[in-house]
Structures are given as C-alpha cells and as structure tokens.
Amino acid sequence: ELKVEQNPLFLSMQEGKNYTIYCNYSTTSDRLYWYRQDPGKSLESLFVLLSNGAVKQEGRLMASLDTKARLSTLHITAAVHDLSATYFCAVAPLGGGADGLTFGKGTHLIIQP
C-alpha cells in the first residue's frame, strides 16, 4: 500500500525567510505532484516531477525529487504572504497510469508579514 507522509504538517514563518517542506513515500513511483490549495478552494497544480533528480522552479517555489530516497522537497525562498496556503504532495503508483493519486496530509503554511 502506497503511503505518503509530509512534514511539517503546520508551519508558521515570517516573510523573507526560507523553508523546506518534505514529502516521503513508501513504494517506488515514477510520478510526484505538488498542489496548492487555498481555504475553501480546489487544488491548483504546481509541479509534476517525473524522474530522479528532477528539479522545477516557479517563482519562489522550487521542487525536487530523489526517487532512490523516495523523497521530494518543496523549497520556499524569501517567503511572501501570498504563499500562505496548504501544500499537498501526491504520488502515483509505479506504472499506475490513471488509477488515481495518493495524497499526503498537507502542509498548512502561514506566512506572517
């Protein structure tokens, strides 16, 4: 059974600081996703990571994937208040195609001015 663990689950940080969210998963996978969710809203796709060593960046967010360690990180650089949201990582089973994703519990991020 595929399990996905995120940490921390809650994070309060100040603007301008850097921080990293971690996502560990239990079985081999070839696809990892990061999503953002604002309160009461749906999920917005941020990154899709497909291979070992993949790194993607968008603005102040950078995601990386280490398939050997079964670990992905989402790094926030010089945080701004607008990045406050819940961030989910989600993993697809190896070769699973369209069988749906397994989500972590999410990291609730609050960025204080």
């Binding site: 996703y33 999920l43 796709s45 369209a98 749906g100 994703l101």
Partner: protein, 115 residues
C-alpha cells in the same frame, strides 16, 4: 488547461435524502476521478473511471455510486445521505502529456453538509 465544473458548490441537506453531485469537463478527457476531503485533511480517492461505461472504486470505501454514460459527465450519487457523508467532494479529470506524464485537473469542489 482543463475546464472542470461541479454543481452544486454548496449543499445542505437532511438525513435520508438522495443527492447527486454533478461533474463535467469539456476537454474530452477519458479519465475522471472523485476524491473526498474532510476539512484540513488529505484527499482520498473514492471512485475513478477510465472512460465511458467504466467505473472503479478507489482506496477509500464509500457508500456513494458513480456512473459514466458520457465522456464529459461523471456524477456521484448518495442514495440516502447521512451526517457522516459531510465533507468536500472534488472531481478531477486527467490527460497524458509528453514530458509531464498523467496530469490531473481538479474542479472547484462541492461542500456537502448533511444535518
């Protein structure tokens, strides 16, 4: 970018009522999904479909049922709503893109409250 629509967005209903949550997408995606999400918690897959006339149960057991008669439409039905069904229900569809793999696009969700 996929367009996924869900109605209603909010629903308050009494115990024992039958409800149908609608989901439609206009991008012609074959694969569609329903997830259940309690407030502040992770999403759990409850149903998915590979295409017309295909429906499968997901990882989380659910008393709901789904149907897929048309590609663009994937409704979810609860025959007799109970307070334990109170949750947010998110519909998604996916497509395969070269260099991105299978990418899921989510609808806005339906927030259900059963009294």
């Amino acid at each position: 970018e996929a367009d996924i629509y869900q109605t209603p967005r909010y629903l308050v209903i009494g115990t024992g009522k039958k409800i149908t949550l609608e989901c439609s997408q206009t991008m012609g995606h074959d694969k569609m999904y329903w997830y259940q999400q309690d407030p502040g918690m992770e999403l759990h897959l409850i149903h998915y479909s590979y295409g017309v006339n295909s429906t499968e149960k997901g990882d989380l057991s659910s008393e709901s049922t789904v149907s897929r008669i048309r590609t663009e439409h994937f409704p979810l039905t609860l025959e007799s709503a109970r307070p334990s069904h109170t949750s947010q229900y998110l519909c998604a569809s996916s497509e395969y893109r070269i260099a991105m793999g299978e990418t899921q696009y989510f609808g806005p969700g339906t927030r259900l409250l059963v009294l």
